[in-house]
């Protein structure tokens, strides 16, 4: 990988394909550099995968446990404040 490749890939990481739209030299480089083309494809695959990430739901009993715990703390706090 050349220094030029490093610079192009770093800037692609920050700005994505939009970088190529505003920099003709970079566009020309990517069109002739297989390594940078593969990097751009990979970067876009990563972005697509981010879009497809599933939610990780906590177990419902854990959700209820923390809600009940805070309710209990509040009751104790309220009792304390009345003393």
């Amino acid at each position: 990988m050349t220094r030029r490749c490093e610079r192009v890939q770093e800037t692609l990481s920050e700005h994505g394909r939009a970088y190529l739209a505003r920099d003709p030299d970079a566009r020309e480089h990517v069109s002739t550099c297989a390594e940078c083309r593969a990097f751009l494809v990979a970067l876009e695959e990563v972005d697509a995968a981010f879009e497809a990430l599933p939610r990780h739901q906590p177990p419902e009993e854990v959700v209820q446990k923390v809600i009940e715990a805070v309710r209990g703390i509040r009751v104790t706090e309220d009792d304390g404040s009345r003393e």
Partner: protein
């Protein structure tokens, strides 16, 4: 069978903020018993997802999840409504995760599981397989990033927080956030290139 996905269930975009959301903590502090439950319901998947993606072993997830919301309750009076609530919630979440790593004196720990469930996109089976593999790869790759890069990548690429809010949540200058984000995305894309080359070698010419 209808293969249409339930977008609201799997979509990862941040919940829209509004006056109601900003007021949840104020209502909680004012004694509204349902406000805290609403806040937990609103943030449970995002907070749990952050913990899961932080490379922490599975048997710690539930305890850390509860610790986050107990800390949110304890810190509720310090919240200022001009600050986006999601950034404040993630500042606490990130601190809980950092504290866990400090306690365990583990800087990075890669957990092979869980591979996420396949997301049914209504496309053919080959595409589903590709998406499933690509998502599973990304989950592992994010957990493998250096800690600060991982924090920034999750908050930016998954939670889509603005750079300034990530900086505030993590106690970093905005330019440092941008640098970590750039390096994180660079590492993920470079890793993806290597993975693709491996796959091509395994499949053969």
């Amino acid at each position: 069978m209808n293969k249409a996905i339930e977008v609201a269930d799997v979509h990862h975009k941040p919940v829209e903020r509004g006056v109601e959301e900003a007021n949840l903590l104020e209502r909680h502090l004012a004694g509204d018993g349902r406000a805290f439950e609403a806040l937990v319901q609103r943030y449970k998947a995002r907070v749990y997802g952050y913990i899961v993606r932080s490379g922490i072993p599975r048997d710690e997830w539930d305890d850390l999840f509860q610790e986050v919301f107990l800390r949110i309750h304890a810190a509720a009076s310090s919240y200022r409504s001009e600050r986006p609530l999601d950034a404040w919630v993630f500042a606490i979440t990130a601190n809980v995760v950092r504290s866990w790593y400090r306690r365990r004196k583990v800087r990075t720990r890669v957990v092979p599981d869980p591979d996420p469930p396949a997301r049914d996109t209504g496309c053919d089976s080959l595409q589903i397989l590709e998406i499933r593999e690509s998502v599973a790869w990304l989950e592992r790759a994010v957990r493998s990033l250096p800690p600060v890069q991982r924090e920034v990548v999750i908050l930016s690429c998954v939670e889509q927080l603005p750079h300034a809010e990530i900086a505030r949540a993590l106690g970093l200058p905005v330019n440092t956030v941008k640098t970590h984000l750039r390096r994180g995305r660079l590492a993920l894309a470079a890793g993806r290139v290597r993975a693709s080359k491996r796959e091509q070698r395994e499949v053969g010419p």
